[in-house]
């Protein structure tokens, strides 16, 4: 049986509450954000965007801009040594492919001179025909977003290809009693981190370039510096500043901003600060991929799923960097169910709209919205209770995953479902709400989902950690993954405390400086605790072994195995009162020449899934979740009130119950916004709601009562048995709300978001 994660496991520093180590600097306003940094002789950098979504620059003249007092540099695509940046984006471009593209960048002494300089650039464009939707882009003879690009077949991106092939769906469909087909659609969503992108590039005297930036992926940041300037990585350094939220988004625009600031700093020899405005951030930064889904299931009258065919079509936008998403999307397309025959394909389509990228879930919020509604519709067609249908097809220990992996670890879905059903009176309410009349009708809905922990086969899930002790007993930790608000530094502090046996107060985890730690990949995929902390643990273990040698010497014993470290004291096992404080051992360790620092590395065991065969082991392990939403719909006004969301997650081992619950609460608000509110008003490829007066996210007045329930199990895969949580927290919420709306109204919602006006129109159609 699973445990409720309330510190039930036998640990001293993890598995229990610890105040966030970064709370004080953030709530007192002392945290160092990139936009706050000032350097001597620093210039201000900015970008000129074109007025078109697809156009060619016929003529660009910068003389007038250079003549503006205070303007130090104006650069265009002509000044670049190659047309494309790393990742096929463009720093400055001759061909504009969406409204966020940049034709020139300027550095100036003041913000006013910068603005005047940007306005003085004279550009003549030739507007080109454009495509704005998946359908337009896939039509015969459609204008091409990328001409002469070997990665494209028409507007279809040839790299966004991954598939699942298990059994034979075509044969299976012919034998099935019932075939159900449905289509669903989701929208682009803005991350809307509180802090827009900002970077300061500082040219160093030795020919190196250092960039201070709120980069969620510092080693990508280093690539952008090296790529923009054409310098070796060894001469490029990225120093991470405090990150005011990322949710997967501080990547493409952040990287381009790092590159553009580097170009201007290089051209002028001055530090250059680029701070992105809210409008620019909304227009230019990547968005959650809009999807179109086609689901087809074959099922027998006994309620057993026999075959599933899914086609996922993503709107890539104008550029791409996310072929990795294709893998995660196809692996999760079938959901947490046992299906013998599975065929999944994904297609990426370029359009002249804002680029798509990673946003909390990396395809899963979209897919779960579609699939968890779809399986209810399949049950409906069968005349079965959907919960009974889902339970009878659900993943379990020993089952074969839809892409072929044998699940050898715990699968605690039945326990989570049972608990949440009891807690919410799910079945009782469903029946009660089935035949309502009147203006206000209530509904309850559920989503059942799973998530591959960490990167799995998506990418390399290896990471580094460096830990050292000083002679006063304080501990310093350098890591390659970032604190972006998720609580990583607190979790890492607790993990180091647990492993070393010293209190959290002794430990300082630094922000990432690419000169002080090995490339540990990006901070994505909810990987940083489950896998990223493995190197932290290994480094702490190794360091502890060296300190134990010194302690053994101080205890005059031959064997370090006789020594233990508990609560900041070295003790001699079995000898009462033989104890030496940690800092005294550290002091002697230093002055006797002991190794006081350790760099360690963790690389997870190799997996076998291949996008070529579409079959294999995709992830090292999975976490399992259930979300229940309770809603009320006002038939007169269409008003939708989400009254309560109960969210239960298998976290393996919880590191910090309170910060975990905090992630779940935030995830609920984000999932609710995705289902009901957050929508970019895109007209002819241009975003019209560019600021918070018109771009709507749920306010605190809209958020429901929330309950987060953490479940633990025994799964040795992750660090101290921990699993992923950050993205799980948001991915099933929209689906639970949409299913609850069906319970309340009998209506299926095949396109989101659904706000009160759309609900009204659905009810009065």
């Amino acid at each position: 049986m699973p445990l409720f994660a309330e510190g039930n496991k036998k640990y001293s520093h993890i598995n229990k509450f610890c105040p966030r180590v970064d709370a004080k600097e953030k709530v007192t306003g002392r945290a160092d954000y990139a936009a706050d940094l000032v350097f001597p002789d620093m210039l201000f950098g900015g970008s000129l965007h074109g007025p078109y979504t697809h156009a060619k620059v016929k003529r660009i003249c910068v003389e007038k801009a250079l003549a503006v007092p205070g303007v130090r540099a104006v650069l265009t695509y002509k000044d670049l040594n190659k047309p494309f940046s790393w990742g096929y984006y463009t720093y400055m471009t001759e061909i504009l492919r969406y409204e966020g593209d940049v034709v020139a960048i300027v550095a100036a002494d003041t913000k006013h001179a910068l603005e005047a300089g940007l306005e003085a650039i004279d550009v003549e464009y030739e507007e080109l025909p454009a495509v704005y939707t998946i359908d337009e882009a896939m039509a015969d003879g459609a204008p091409l977003v990328h001409e002469n690009n070997e990665d494209c077949a028409g507007n279809i991106w040839s790299h966004a290809r991954c598939k699942v092939r298990k059994g034979d769906v075509d044969v299976a469909f012919t034998d099935c009693d019932v075939i159900v087909e449905r289509e669903y659609e989701t929208q682009a969503v803005e991350h809307l981190y509180l802090e827009p992108e900002a970077a300061v590039a500082v040219p160093e005297k030795n020919g190196c370039m250092t960039v201070y930036a709120c980069a969620a992926n510092p080693f990508f940041g280093r690539r952008w510096i090296a790529d923009s300037l054409g310098i070796p990585r060894s001469k490029a350094r990225l120093v991470q500043t405090t990150i005011g939220g990322s949710f997967g988004g501080k990547e493409e625009l952040m990287g381009l901003t790092i590159g553009r600031a580097s170009l201007l700093a290089d051209a002028t020899g001055h530090p250059v600060k680029m701070v992105i405005s809210r409008e620019e951030s909304i227009v230019c930064s990547s968005k959650r991929h809009p999807f179109k889904f086609k689901y087809k299931a074959g099922v027998n009258k006994d309620g057993k799923l026999q075959a599933l065919q899914v086609t996922l079509i993503e709107d890539v936008g104008a550029y791409h960097m996310h072929e990795f998403m294709s893998f995660r999307a196809v692996v999760h397309a079938a959901g947490a169910y046992v299906i013998p025959n599975v065929k999944v394909d994904i297609l990426g389509v370029f359009t002249n709209t804002v680029t798509s990228g990673a946003m909390r879930g990396y395809s899963s919020p979209q897919i779960i919205y579609a699939q968890e509604q779809f399986y209810e519709e399949v049950a409906e067609e069968l005349g079965m209770d959907f919960l009974a249908f889902k339970k009878s097809n659900m993943l379990h220990k020993g089952a074969i995953h839809p892409c072929g992996q044998e699940l050898n670890e715990e699968v605690i879905l039945p326990e989570i479902i049972e608990n949440l059903c009891a807690k919410t009176d799910f079945e009782g309410k469903r029946k009660k709400y089935a035949n309502q009349t009147g203006d206000k009708r209530k509904g309850i809905g559920m989503s059942i989902f799973h998530r591959g922990c960490g990167l799995g086969n998506e990418s390399i899930d290896a990471s580094a950690a460096y830990i050292c002790v000083h002679d006063d007993g304080s501990v310093m930790v350098n890591v390659g993954l970032v604190e972006n608000g998720q609580g990583l530094h607190t979790a890492y502090s607790q993990i180091v405390a647990e492993t070393l046996g010293v209190p959290v107060e002794k430990i300082l985890v630094n922000k990432v400086d690419t000169n002080t730690i090995l490339d540990s990949g990006p901070t994505v995929a909810s990987r940083c605790t489950v896998m990223g902390a493995q190197s932290v643990r290994k480094a702490a273990q190794e360091l502890k072994s060296y300190l134990k040698e010194t302690a053994a010497m101080m205890f005059h014993t031959e064997s370090p195995d006789q020594v233990a470290l508990e609560d900041g004291m070295f003790i001699l096992i079995g000898v009462p009162d033989a104890a030496i404080p940690f800092h005294e051992v550290c002091n002697v360790h230093h002055w006797t020449g002991g190794q006081s620092g350790v760099m360690n590395w963790y690389k997870p065991p190799k997996l076998s899934f291949s996008c070529k065969t579409g079959f294999g082991d995709a992830f090292p392990t999975y976490s399992y979740s259930v979300c229940v939403a309770e809603v009320e719909v006002d038939y007169k006004t269409g008003e939708i009130t989400v009254e309560k969301v109960t969210s239960g997650h298998d976290v393996g081992t919880v590191i910090n119950p309170e910060t975990s619950k905090g992630q779940i609460f935030g995830g609920i608000a984000m999932g609710q916004g995705f289902a009901m509110m957050e929508n970019l008003a895109i007209k002819d490829g241009k975003i019209r709601n560019k600021n918070l007066d018109t771009f709507m996210i749920a306010s605190s007045m809209d958020t429901p009562e929330m309950e987060a329930i953490l479940f633990e199990c025994e799964d040795k895969t992750g660090t101290y048995g921990a699993k992923s949580l950050g993205e799980n927290a948001t991915e099933g919420v929209a689906s639970a709300i949409i299913n609850a709306l069906h319970n309340a109204t009998g209506e299926r919602i095949n396109k989101i978001p659904i706000n009160k006006v759309k609900m009204f129109e659905l009810l009065h159609k």
Binding site: S699, D702, E761, H764
Partner: protein
């Protein structure tokens, strides 16, 4: 934001002198909650920003000779805290409660809200229902306009380039109420807003009735068809149904309005109006 000049004015006369001189080149700035948006989106360019936020005599809520007078620079936050308005003009008081987030309410002024003439302006329907008058000054002249004549059309009003709103006046109306519907529960522009001010006679019949709508037409409007149904009759469920039907005649949103359809505004408006009407009377008549 380049191309702007900034002048700080410390008095009404000084402001009128500046406006008389600069006319269409000037833009009055008080709370700047609308002006800043227009500057950021470049709707406004190359203007002289005349900052009047420091003129104390333009601010305050007073009652004299049976009239309530609200200075143009009175903030929405002050209206939301006013015990006088809570009792004597609940419609306006209620509009201030749901106007925006606290920081916007602390800066936004009632004068600015009507000067901006947004069809969804939250203070406009209450002022229309309260039969408010707008005191307008220019160099050497003061005029008074009924609020219903003040609004002209989509984001336009009768204010000339050299004119300044000084105050807004209306008679107390205890039986008044306001409500709005937005796309979220707070900090939301109205999809539709309704204000009602009503007097009920001894026979429980509607003696006078003013109904005003926001976001129902290109400008804030009085709902004369709905009003006509109610005047002289005793509110009953049947009468409310007739009122809702008549209200459809009063709703004529911009056909390009993407936020909600005419049908939505008609159906939702009918039930919203009934609710606000009952709130205004102060006791629900079933």
């Amino acid at each position: 934001m380049s191309g702007f000049e900034y002048v700080r004015s410390n008095g009404i006369q000084e402001t009128l002198n500046i406006l008389a001189k600069e006319k269409e080149d000037s833009v009055l700035v008080a709370g700047a909650t609308n002006v800043m948006n227009d500057i950021r989106s470049r709707k406004l360019q190359n203007k002289i920003l005349v900052d009047i936020s420091n003129i104390g005599e333009l601010s305050g809520i007073t009652q004299e000779d049976g009239m309530i007078r609200i200075g143009a620079l009175t903030t929405v936050a002050d209206i939301a805290k006013s015990a006088l308005l809570c009792k004597q003009a609940p419609a306006l008081y209620q509009a201030a409660q749901v106007f925006a987030d606290p920081s916007t309410c602390n800066y936004a002024t009632i004068g600015g809200n009507i000067a901006h003439a947004c069809p969804a302006a939250d203070t406009a329907p209450p002022l229309l229902a309260l039969d408010a008058e707008v005191e307008i000054a220019k160099k050497g002249n003061i005029r008074t306009l009924h609020i219903n004549n003040f609004f002209l059309g989509f984001y336009s009003n009768q204010l000339d380039d050299d004119e300044l709103i000084v105050a807004i006046r209306f008679k107390p109306q205890r039986c008044s109420a306001f409500e709005k519907i937005g796309l979220r529960s707070a900090m939301s522009i109205a999809l539709l807003s309704v204000a009602v001010a009503v007097e009920i006679d001894q026979q429980e019949k509607v003696r006078t009735c003013a109904i005003a709508l926001g976001a129902a037409a290109p400008r804030p409007v009085r709902a004369s068809h709905a009003e006509a149904v109610m005047i002289g009759s005793k509110p009953t469920p049947e009468l409310y149904a007739k009122m809702a039907e008549a209200l459809c005649e009063d709703i004529a949103p911009n056909p390009k309005s993407a936020r909600a359809s005419k049908l939505y505004r008609e159906v939702v408006g009918g039930s919203l109006l009934e609710k606000v009407f009952k709130n205004a009377i102060g006791s629900a008549i079933e």
